[in-house]
Symmetry: C2
Subunit: 152 residues, 2 copies
DNA sequence: GTATATGCAAAGGGTTTGCACGGTT
DNA sequence: AACCGTGCAAACCCTTTGCATATAC
């Protein structure tokens, strides 16, 4: 389902959308950058077509997401990041101390996902989850400190 | 550690912050509303003190969070929601179809949290997690439909 | 040819910041 | 008295929207 494979075109058409250069460019950009904010995707797209506008990126991502070609996740306080759906499903571990983002296979969450379904009837879109906490490096570094607790 | 108990005052002072009416009001508001966006917290605070400004809410929430009296979580695309820390730790299940938010005890995530720590050395702040997917009602309703896939 | 998609520019929501005044310690 | 905290207003980032033009079908 990469732009090269052509499946993306049918995905669009089957939902009544048109196939445009911008949509291909955005999809390619999302695949090249494995994680990308709209802003970053714009920059990547503009390497090939400088005329493309930010609002087109937003509108295109919405379309691509609605036909199932990309997904987004909210990583921090800022802009969301988009991924191609052919990426392995993964979960973002966001370190609140250093801001680092690690991706881990979605499988680690299986027991959790299953429990949510059994106990609450909730079907989890696990790739959309982002998990906050402290990464290994920061735990080692500041052994139990809370970086954001320190005043200026 | 509710405003009534007085622990909040020491929490502030021990971190070098001053005790002010606004900080008490915000803390109380966060406890009254079990989930609250800055905007909602402002409204609650203004029921008691109409002069308080939104920027004070933001600055105060940041302070209260840094001393461990409140936490926030990102529930959807919009504003974050804040909770008092004396609430039972919980996870938000956000239904992407109907927008409903359910809280479930953080305990369901224990196996997941443990796995992240064992496998990746990552210490998860579980109360900060928000989980997206489809709630029971929407699964029953639209049996497998994707609400946001339908065009206008 | 017609409806959809794009570019542009302006507006909108949410959040942060500079500054002077007022309150806490 | 000294410094921190607050209110106010402006600035900022991210995202959405209206409209005229260009494009895919």
């Amino acid at each position: 389902m990469s732009p090269a494979s052509g499946g993306w075109e049918s995905a669009l058409r089957e939902h009544g959308y048109r196939v445009t250069p911008q949509r291909q460019l955005v999809l390619e950009a999302v695949e090249v950058l494995r994680h990308g904010t709209p802003e970053e995707i714009l920059a990547e797209v503009q390497r090939h077509a400088s005329g493309v506008n930010l609002s087109t990126i937003y509108r295109t991502l919405e379309v691509l997401e609605s036909v199932g070609l990309v997904t987004h996740a909210h990583i921090g306080h800022g802009a969301p990041t988009y991924h191609a759906v052919d990426e392995h499903p993964h979960i973002h571990l966001v370190c609140d101390a250093c801001g680092d983002v690690t991706s881990v296979p979605a499988g680690v969450a299986n027991p959790f996902v299953d429990a949510l379904y059994l106990d609450y009837g909730f079907r989890t879109d696990i790739a959309h989850v982002s998990v906050h906490g402290r990464c290994r490096a920061c735990l080692a570094d500041g052994a139990g400190n809370n970086a954001d607790t320190v005043r200026g």
